[in-house]
């Protein structure tokens, strides 16, 4: 846990959150404010470059990585309400783009939940959310950032999301039978192989049906948009909500 007094914290809002789910960005700001963190939003920020890397256009992604590093220079922490974008900055810049300059900023970039628990020292949240909430463990956050223990490995890792949601009154956190199988979005995969993408998503929704989840939550809007799109096509009354939106109405406990 770090002493945040005097630290400069920035919020990085992914491009698709900015344009398609702005409430998640606002919720993230609110969650941080309640945790005593006054996060800034440097307006010069753009996209982390993941959509380009995803397709293989690594060279075209480099200027975006350089821009990210420039925009967030001077901040002690950069917080992002997305596991996949955080994983791109922290893992992708070093391993895929092999960019030492941009790789440095990866060490200062955190997904929202891992920041709250790991840096800001939040142990749990106090509040009300009277719903049966299905937890979708998004892949990049889980296996990229190790936000929790994945079912493949024989290791116990404290789960940041569970820690934050677990203490909220009325919130029954449930997980599907296949607790961390991919939802099938996969970025470009959703349009490269739409049939399998949709099949995986429908299987994912069925898993939440089996445990009677009323809403599905995740650290990633991308997964939620995909699941939501499938659910609405199927006329299902499935609601999706980002973790930040649940946390924004709660008080953090240290």
């Amino acid at each position: 846990m770090a002493d945040l007094a005097g630290s400069r914290v920035a919020l990085f809002v992914p491009c698709y959150v900015d344009q398609l789910a702005p409430q998640v960005g606002l919720a993230a700001l609110e969650v941080l404010r309640r945790a005593g963190v006054d996060a800034e939003f440097p307006v010069d920020q753009a996209c982390c470059g993941q959509p380009l890397v995803n397709v293989g256009w690594l060279d075209e992604a480099r200027p975006l990585a350089a821009r990210y590093a420039r925009v967030f220079r001077g901040y002690d922490y950069i917080v992002c309400p997305s596991g996949s974008c955080t994983a791109m900055v922290r893992h992708g810049y070093a391993t895929l783009l092999e960019d030492r300059c941009s790789a440095e900023v990866g060490g200062r970039t955190f997904e929202l939940c891992e920041f709250l628990v790991g840096v800001a020292g939040v142990k749990s949240m106090r509040g009300h959310f009277d719903r049966r909430v299905g937890l979708h463990r998004a892949c990049h956050g889980l296996r990229g950032l190790r936000l929790g223990a994945c079912s493949e490995r024989a290791q116990t890792t404290a789960d940041a999301v569970v820690a934050l949601l677990g203490g909220i009154d009325g919130l029954a956190l449930v997980e599907p039978p296949r607790r961390d199988e991919c939802c099938g979005f996969g970025g470009s995969f959703s349009v490269d192989e739409p049939e399998i993408s949709a099949l995986m998503g429908r299987d994912c929704l069925r898993g939440f049906d089996e445990v009677d989840a009323e809403v599905i939550t995740s650290t990633d809007v991308s997964c939620l948009l995909h699941l939501d799109g499938l659910a609405r096509r199927g006329d299902a009354a499935r609601r999706t909500i980002h973790v930040a939106e649940i946390l924004a109405d709660c008080e953090p406990l240290r």
Partner: protein
Amino acid sequence: MNHRDRAEAFLREPGRAAWHDRVLWQVRAKRDAAVQSVAEWEELRDLAAAIKAYALANLDCLLEQFESAATARGAIVHWADDAAAHNRIVGEILSRHGVDRVVKSKSMLTEECGLNHYLAGRGIEVVDTDLGERIVQLRGEVPSHIVLPAIHLRRDEVGDLFHARLGTPAGCSDPAALTAAARADLRSAFRGAAAGITGVNFAIAESGGIVVCTNEGNADLGTALPPLHIACMGIEKVIPRAADLGVFTRVLARSATGQAITAYTAHMHGPRRGGELHIVVVDDGRSELMGRPRYRRSLACIRCGACLNTCPVYRRSGGHSYDAVVPGPIGSTLGPARDAKRHASLPYACTLCGSCTDVCPVKIDLHDQLVHWRREVVSGAGRSLRSTITARAAAFVLGRPWLWGVLRRAGAMAVRVAPVSMRRLAGPWTKARELPVPPRRSFREQMRGGADD
């Protein structure tokens, strides 16, 4: 045809994908249970990865050490540059001994080299003795999984096949009865074969021994009865010491099927008394792959199949969708290394979920390698003008946040004004999903002008 097109046939059959996915998820679940029972599992993975890294870094010395030790024990070691050389060597050994019928236990290498087909052309009959391989052989198919070759077939399909080819009663699909029929059929093959061909799971440099792991004992029987044994191995199968088996035999079967160890683990040191052991060591592009730092770790693969079982795309599309000797995640990096053009779609048959990397007992960075392959596919020699333009356009937009709002509002309006056209434009998304509902104001706009209520 790409992976998506081939998968279409698999997906079209009602229930096929769901059943295949369920069956293989069960294998994955068995693997998980076995892994959870080994407290030091992650340590074993680290060790396995380290031993393989050492072995690959010292392949030249280890291979020579292996040849020397194996020869000292009476084995005859042959070196094959490529698949053609491998086939020629095996063919000549068999011809010299006047062999016209061989039994063969599972070897992905011989699949890679197309050995069965080559030998058939020389009048030598090959009987695959692994039950799954025998099934696909009788069907005239290639395996769809490197450990469970016939996993794409249901019991009743095997029943129909055995009724036609082995004379089992029509409509019988009882696994015990079918297995008994296969066993009887294979017994006569084992007895009548003048030679046995096996693969090699591990070749031990220090002792010159080879290790073959099976659940059926078909490698054991196939080399105990015939006097001639030909063992085929890729150069990457060599490990430094016998003690290293203590790591590999602990992780192999657990990763593959969830068993603590395969039912049979044959350690063969030199020919059996009165017999001959030939070991054919094959390169076939492996040393070239060694020269590619980004992908060389894929040579550590011990062919356990865990990545296939965990891959949500493989489970829902089946091995034949990959059109590669080795399918699944490992196949999607080995394939392009062999033939980048033919296998260009494989790195994209993936959501980059990373599950494969986390189950791999030798810690190959599978999904990272697939991203690197994507780069080669889109930027390789002959990168299409269309790809360049699209990449530049995408980068242009993603670097200009002021454009995002323009596009969002334009898109929202277009959906209202021309919903049918927009649906067609967004076809790959909208075929199965509703489009997200764009908000009135983006996050940036709200930050500029106060929060949206």
